[in-house]
Amino acid sequence: MIQKKVCMIGSFAVGKTSLVRRFVESIYSDKYHTTVGVKVDKKVVNTPAGEATLLLWDIEGAESEHDLRKSYLRGASGYLLVADGTRSDTLYKALSLQTRAEEAVGTVPFLLLLNKADLTQSWQIQEREMDALRQKSWTVLTTSAKSGQGVEEAFLRLAQSMMEDHNG
């Protein structure tokens, strides 16, 4: 069984915890975020490259890249960068957090998730912004922790990339 550490990175209230909760059954309560600043959950996923156990480190929301604890990122095989599609500032924060994450763990697979896709009325991210990121060969997905849209896919795609990395 291959185990992989995955970090959830993003600003406050972008929906990281909700995404994780959508994805796993947790044994720890959410109050760990306010005490230790991180909560670890586990999910076994099947990818074409094999079965993998994801250890999801859901790190508390960081407003700037200096708030992000590097020690929590250490050893991660991949990460999910989460932004709130209804607050464009969270996207820019995600970009700077990505720089910080890459400093900490190197170039490992990651996905950018634009969350809260169910709130189409107040959606602020333009398609061309996403395209610009895709130009940088980023994988950008829209997700909704509320409806479940894209959640499974996001975790699976990240797992798959990590497994390809592992085997390659």
Binding site: Q3, K42, L55, R69
Partner: protein, 583 residues
Amino acid sequence: MKQAGVQDALDPSSAVSTSNDDETMAELRTLLLGPAEKQIADVHARLTDPNRQLEEVVHVLPAAISVRSRRDGQLADALAPTVTSAIHESVRKDPQPIADAIFPIIGPAIRKAISAALSGMTQSFNQTLAYSVSVKGLKWRLEALRTGRSFAEVVLLHTLLYRVEQVFLIHRETGLLLQHVSAPGSQMQDADMVSGMLTAIQDFVHDSFSTAKGDELQTLQVGELTVWVERGPLAVLAGVIRGNAPHELREVFQQTLERIHLQFGTALSEFKGDASPFDSTRSLLEDCLQAHYDSQPKASDKPAKLTPLNVIVSLLVIAALVLGFFWLRGRWRWDNFIEQLRNEPGIVVAETGTRDGKYYLSGLRDPLARDPAVLMQEAKVDPNKVLSRWEPFQALTPDFVLARSKRLLNTPNTVKLSLKDGVLNAEGFASHDWVIEARRGSRFLPGVNGFRDDRLLDLNRVEDPLLMFVLDSAELVPGQSEKFDALVHDIERLQAQAEAMQKNVTLEIYGHTDESGTEERNATLAAERAQTVASELQGRLPRWTNVTVRAVASKEQLRNEVTEADRATNRSVTFKVIATDAQ
């Protein structure tokens, strides 16, 4: 010049080369390196000649092994696989040499193992028994009921000094779990997540509180549980311990972690998420799953040893028991005696108790009541241990009134007394004197209000009548038939009473004469007169059973003969009643 020569000699591009130069070079080399040349050749030979190398290793090998073994255990770790496979190979080829080698130790080892297992079994059996019946055992049973755990588990928890319940081997960089072992029966969460959180907490503590580089979280304490964290460069060993583990256990953790680093160094540094290479760390981690139980039986549980003090104490206890038994028995007998006295008629117990190691007893006693000394003997109470004081009194219960009446009235056995409503009844027959005396005396008897004797026959009625005879004849003086009839009637009553009282009565009839006549004639006449009356009575009442009539001639004269009346009186028969017990 010389410098230029050297320059030339060292310059490979120099095209000019003469034999003269060669000689110069050889000479120069000899001059410069002459003394070292032999050494260089020697070093060269040592480096290239396998035989020489072998010799040298042979020379230092024992010392090197010895030095390294003293320093740490790495040599043993390094050699272990080789030695293991060598032994395997040896056994595979020919098991005999190994069998021969271990033969001397295998017997004692088996014996030791068996005796250890047996003694362990006995001890645990004893412990279970002890815990089952002790107060502690009951408490634990209650706890087992309350918590829903098994009794064995509760006993284990309470006798536990410490137990390493879980050991995590965690990859330091990623916080991913490499291996996890747990003691049987310990509760556990998902080890992968625990491993992650444990790492996160360490990072958190390190980032938040570290004062100096290298300071790390070493211990987490949660109630009865302690988490010990040992950190290596590539891996972290975390042990979850219940109870208070000794410091030596930390050294065990450290050594285990060092050994893992030594054996799995490469695997640790190349770890990418596949924990399978660390499967073989299991046995190492299991060595950390140590537990110590409070299996020492308490002093109070041990069977008492035969020490002089114990013997003395035992003897004292036995003596106390024996004395206690006798004391109790004495006490019990005394209480019984008192109880009997209280129930005894005519005895009133006023005070009882102990004084100066003796029982004392005081009260009232009717003289007619049973003797307390006899009662005491019957109750097996030692009279020497009793001080008693009795005041006489007269009990007024009917029994006592009656008994006292019989006694004070000097009642003959032909009279039966009974008491009814305070009235004394007399039945049977008695002398006239007694009847008179009883009538008089009964008035002074306490508890007696009256005296009835209508069913009592006054013997005067039989003994008093005087039947007179004609001078010098055995013929009754005429006109006495009424008197005779009355006599017969009274004798019938006597018969009835005698029968009722179970007495035999002899009615003696004495014939008397006056002074006239000869003595011989008078004797005959007296006998005839008595016989006449006897025959007459027997004729009248042939069915008497308890009354016997006997004729007796008496020389005795009833009166001094002064007048003719005296002489007439003397010509008579008199009666006497003699009562005997019926057979």
